[in-house]
Symmetry: C2
Subunit: 147 residues, 2 copies
């Protein structure tokens, strides 16, 4: 099993970052405008849609201001059963986001793509909170011939 | 051992991407303006400097238009002995860059940071080649409280 790892620091409170990871409005502001479901509903399913498909995430853990954990229950075969983990902490004037997309079976080329794409979405999350404007799909950053 | 993985697609030829990874002018255009050494000199050492230190990379493999491999010989303790690998291929109108920063001893928090930061530098490489303007240090994208 292999993992995608990222870290960003956002000049904001953990509560504000947590809200952007658990509210439909927040998620739609940095990941995809086509977001359905309740991110603050433990055991519920979030549906994220993009130009070429999407992901359904079951909300497995919610610790306000500290942690959000999703399990991928539908989407690309390589994603199903993987976990997306958001751990929040404070340092200096920042909320530190430690991100993990855990449990890939193999380090396939698609995983390389997703690692880079996640980084652009983390920058979108940071921008949304710090400036009020993110870059969610369909206005996301194009990184290669796949998306 | 754990690895950082990324993928980008650049609307350009493999030769042009290879040049940006092996010429001092190319490297200075997307990674850091403070680049010394010869990237096309097998066995030579490239010195990359940033606001908070830098990295010395020994050029271990050069396959024009296909592959560049560096070994980190000086820099942060976590980086020493790791390998940075650039594999190039063609797909559609793109040169595909498969990037690996291989051989981290542990998935420490600094590795999360470096994963995100590498993604922003890959976007800088893409931008340099597609538009003529990259975002090398000291004009790099700030991702968190560390850099």
């Amino acid at each position: 099993m292999v993992d995608i790892l990222h870290r960003t620091g956002i000049k904001s409170s953990p509560a504000e970052v947590y809200a952007a990871l658990t509210s439909t409005e927040g998620l739609a502001g940095w990941w995809t405008t086509d977001t359905q479901g309740k991110g603050n509903d433990l055991g519920g399913v979030l549906k994220f849609r993009f130009r070429a498909g999407g992901f359904d995430m079951k909300v497995l853990e919610l610790d306000p201001g500290k942690r959000v954990l999703w399990e991928v229950v539908d989407g690309p075969a390589e994603w199903i059963g993987t976990h997306v983990v958001w751990d929040l902490d404070q340092a200096d004037d920042y909320t530190i986001v430690l991100f993990k997309h855990q449990g890939w079976a193999e380090p396939v080329e698609f995983m390389h793509h997703c690692s880079t794409k996640w980084a652009t979405y983390l920058m979108s999350l940071k921008s949304l909170i710090e400036t009020g404007k993110g870059a969610p799909h369909p206005d996301d950053v194009m990184i290669d011939n796949w998306d």
